[in-house]
């Protein structure tokens, strides 16, 4: 990549930060060039963000109809999945999966609630709220 070809398309996900990449200058030597961002990067980053946003939105609909627990909504909002939430809380995956069921979640002990709240970095009292 030549220095003149370093993308300066502006990448909204960078929030104005410039990133450094290596590119060839006019004499053919490689050095650092600051980039305002590349559309391709923005597309793949947004794709990853949107995947979690969609999962959270779907969970929220489920919470309203009583089919999903608020815990599932909070999990996706924190960009986690079941295995990551299990690792973050130190619980077995099957337990986390079980706790995602609304009926089980409603009976969750204060100790477990505190554990989830800590892993998701939120107030335990707000764990039952969604939206």
């Amino acid at each position: 990549m030549d220095a003149a070809d370093v993308p300066q398309e502006g990448n909204a996900t960078h929030e104005g930060q410039r990133r450094a990449v290596y590119a060839r200058d006019a004499e053919g030597h490689l050095g650092l060039v600051l980039s305002r961002g590349w559309q391709v990067e923005e597309i793949v980053t947004r794709q990853a963000v949107e995947t979690f946003d969609e999962l959270a939105a779907a969970a929220l609909v489920g919470v309203r109809t009583g089919e999903r627990s608020p815990l599932e909504y909070h999990m996706y909002r924190a960009r986690m999945d079941v295995s990551l939430l299990a690792q973050a809380t130190g619980l077995w995956r099957w337990r986390v999966r079980r706790h995602l069921r609304p009926a089980v979640f409603a009976r969750l002990s204060p100790v477990l609630r505190a554990r989830y709240a800590a892993a998701l970095d939120m107030d335990a009292a707000r764990l039952s709220e969604a939206g």
Binding site: R19, Y22, L30, V40, Q47, A48, M80, L84, A88
Partner: protein
């Protein structure tokens, strides 16, 4: 600014990748000028790995470089010094130890999770646990850490509680509060020996690893996975192909899946090692890096429906890349014989 003494002499420098940037800055701080590409190449950090049994949000781990920590460890031998690394079971102990080192005027490398760093743009904050940055002091009044994150333009500050969370995040590649710093000052290597040795190691990894998921064969394996993607579920297929590009371009690589940085290393290495052939090979590797960028562009166009979704076409691009890299690394191996 009421910062401790160590902050005064440390210079932030922007880099294209976190670990090579941290090690370059740290070695420079201890008196030996070392560029980022040199840290990357001398640490034999270039690679390709496809690890389908390790999942990140359900997608396989794909890496265009060696595992985290490879540069930190890999520089010890060529630069004749040793790195002290410490991990902690309890976060309180980790915080106390970091504060103690900073109070003593040390510049300390840290492994952190990106998700818990408030200064990162929100779209970047994923649960990626192997980010590296440098702590070089604390603000005496607020207790905020003074951090130098090599992928950012300027140094930043971070509240103590936030940094503790980032250091003790759990999950894949959990940092366990890892801190590292030189136990002795680095010394200038014998370039004529150290450079060929480091390059040979990279060649070995890329074309001679007896595992079909590492190096050039790993690229071919990913191509095969692309060909088998479910056409019936375009959203899942798009997530998969997009993930590969995100690992290549966005996770602190400086573009081209680290190939441009390794080219910069070869260019710098050529006169030091007394092997002019390396400079010619650097130019070839830039072309290969451009090939990776074309692959990324083709992928992004399919994700956004500007082109029809054809994972098979991307697989063909990947196979072409694998073929070019195979030839390239064989030539590189010959050049350092």
């Amino acid at each position: 600014m009421a910062a401790s003494a160590s902050a005064a002499s440390f210079a932030h420098r922007q880099a294209s990748h976190c670990e090579s940037g941290v090690m370059s800055a740290m070695v420079c701080h201890h008196g030996l000028p070392l560029s980022e590409p040199m840290a990357f190449g001398l640490g034999s950090a270039l690679a390709f790995a496809y690890l389908p049994f390790i999942k990140l949000s359900g997608l396989p781990l794909v890496s265009y470089r060696m595992p985290p920590g490879a540069i930190i460890r890999g520089l010890q031998k060529p630069l004749h010094f040793s790195m002290r690394t410490e991990t902690f079971r309890r976060s309180e102990a980790g915080v106390a130890r970091l504060d103690e080192l900073l109070d003593a005027g040390r510049v300390v490398g840290l492994q952190v999770s990106v998700f818990w760093l408030p200064f990162m743009p929100p779209d970047f904050r994923f649960h990626f646990n192997a980010h590296n940055l440098i702590a070089y002091g604390r603000d005496e009044t607020s207790g905020d850490y003074l951090l130098s994150d090599p992928v950012l333009e300027a140094p930043v500050r971070c509240a103590s509680a936030d940094l503790a969370k980032a250091r003790f995040a759990r999950g894949v590649l959990a940092p366990k509060g890892l801190i590292y710093y030189p136990a002795s000052p680095p010394r200038e290597p014998d370039w004529k020996k150290a450079l060929p040795a480091a390059i040979k190691k990279t060649v070995r990894i890329m074309i001679h690893t007896p595992l079909p998921i590492i190096g050039v064969r790993g690229i071919e394996r990913v191509a095969r996975a692309f060909e088998r993607l479910p056409v019936a579920d375009p959203a899942a297929a798009k997530r998969y192909i997009g993930h590969l590009v995100r690992m290549q371009e966005e996770i602190g690589t400086g573009g081209g899946g680290f190939r441009f940085m390794y080219a910069a290393f070869l260019e710098e290495a050529a006169p030091l090692a007394g092997r002019p052939a390396l400079a010619e090979l650097a130019a070839e590797l830039v072309d290969i890096g451009d090939g990776w960028r074309e692959f990324a562009l083709a992928t992004a166009r399919m994700i956004r429906d500007r082109d029809p979704l054809e994972p098979g076409r991307l697989a063909a691009l990947l196979r072409a890349q694998a073929g070019r890299e195979k030839t390239f690394f064989a030539a590189l191996g010959k050049a350092v014989k």
